[in-house]
């Protein structure tokens, strides 16, 4: 039997994309830019945010007016954020399952981790693809430190590119060093405040996760 014929009889689960990275690197800002960009391309979307002991990021996105607030779920880690995206991602898996039950047509669920450190990674049980967001304000030595988040993610996003001249960062050298430690796997540059570089992130999701191109 052709797998496509087989698939026609059973709904294909929504793709789950993780977004991790250090505190303040711009994960929520990236989500806020991705929502309208993905919706403009017709992607049926839902969001999960992770915070330590609040629903701060979820409330920020719900209030943004960018998406139906019912499509935004909050997970409170209660401990180190990586514990609920890697060691025991049950809370996030249940939140994603719940969104799929409530919104049967959803194609993509973005799962934003709480701010963590360079060792943070996502479990394959939770996500199909994950991005790690760092920013130039953290210093251009971040890629050279070879944190597992930087090395293992499917796409590394270097955000706040507009700040490079003000913090003494050679952006192109930082990008080259990131590519070198990642064996040339994808590195994208964004300035989420102005929406620069977002199209490339959306295209990567469409190509590698949603299989649209």
């Amino acid at each position: 039997m052709n797998p496509l014929q087989r698939a026609a009889g059973s709904r294909i689960a929504a793709a789950r994309v993780g977004i991790g990275g250090p505190v303040g690197s711009g994960k929520t800002a990236l989500v806020e830019r991705l929502i309208p960009a993905l919706m403009a391309r017709g992607v049926d979307l839902a969001i999960i945010t992770n915070d330590l002991v609040t629903a701060e990021d979820a409330e920020r996105i719900r209030r943004s007016g960018l998406i139906d607030p019912a499509r935004v779920s909050a997970v409170e880690a209660g401990a180190c954020p990586h514990t609920v995206i890697r060691e025991d991602p049950t809370l996030n898996i249940e939140a994603a399952d719940d969104l799929e039950r409530r919104f049967p047509g959803v194609e993509l669920i973005l799962i934003e981790s709480g701010g963590d450190n360079l060792a943070s990674t996502f479990s394959r049980d939770l996500t199909d693809f994950w991005m790690f967001v760092i920013d130039v304000g953290g210093g251009d030595d971040i890629p050279r430190k070879r944190g597992p988040g930087v090395i293992r993610c499917d796409t590394l996003v270097i955000n706040k590119t507009d700040l490079a001249p003000y913090v003494g960062v050679d952006l192109e050298r930082m990008r080259q060093q990131a590519l070198a430690v990642r064996d040339n796997r994808p590195v994208l540059l964004t300035n989420c405040r102005k929406g620069e570089g977002i199209d490339a992130v959306v295209s990567a999701i469409e190509r590698d996760v949603l299989f649209r191109a």
Partner: protein, 149 residues
């Protein structure tokens, strides 16, 4: 792009044996080599050994195994092949070393299996990176490497 969803069966299934055998004679079997560290993925995009661009998705409860049949028609079949999982086996020299090794493996989030008196570490990256993390235990003779991976 060939969009594939779900595992049809296994190449050893009697249900598919005759058709796969016939396709084999016509050079119609394509192999999709999946790196062992990527085996847990439920969605991925990879090219077969013949260059067919495959966009693969699995159900959440479904698992990809070596020999999984992903596609079959009159012209060709696509079968998943896994690279061999690299395993680094370590034997602690004494109980205190075993505690230290266990602590390090847990703290470093290594994927491990327990094999009697050895710890088998399933490698997701270069061995040198792993070895560097417990070099002090190896140098002191607290941990013995059983074999190269």
């Amino acid at each position: 792009m060939l969009r594939l969803h779900g595992v049809l069966g296994h190449e050893s299934d009697t249900l598919y044996h005759a058709r796969l055998h016939a396709l084999e004679h016509h050079d119609g079997i394509e192999l999709l080599f999946v790196p062992s560290e990527e085996a847990g993925r439920k969605r991925f995009r990879l090219a077969t050994d013949r260059g067919t661009d495959c966009a693969v998705s699995l159900a959440r409860g479904e698992e990809l195994v070596d020999g999984a049949l992903l596609y079959i028609d009159e012209e060709k079949a696509i079968v998943a092949r896994f690279g061999r999982q690299r395993v680094w086996r370590l034997r602690p020299a004494h109980a205190a070393a075993a505690l230290k090794l266990g602590w390090n493996a847990g703290n470093l989030h290594w994927r491990v299996r327990f094999e009697e008196d050895c710890l088998a570490i399933l490698l997701d990256g270069p061995l040198a990176g792993y070895r560097a993390r417990i070099a002090h235990l190896l140098d002191a003779g607290d941990i013995v490497e059983l074999a190269d991976v």
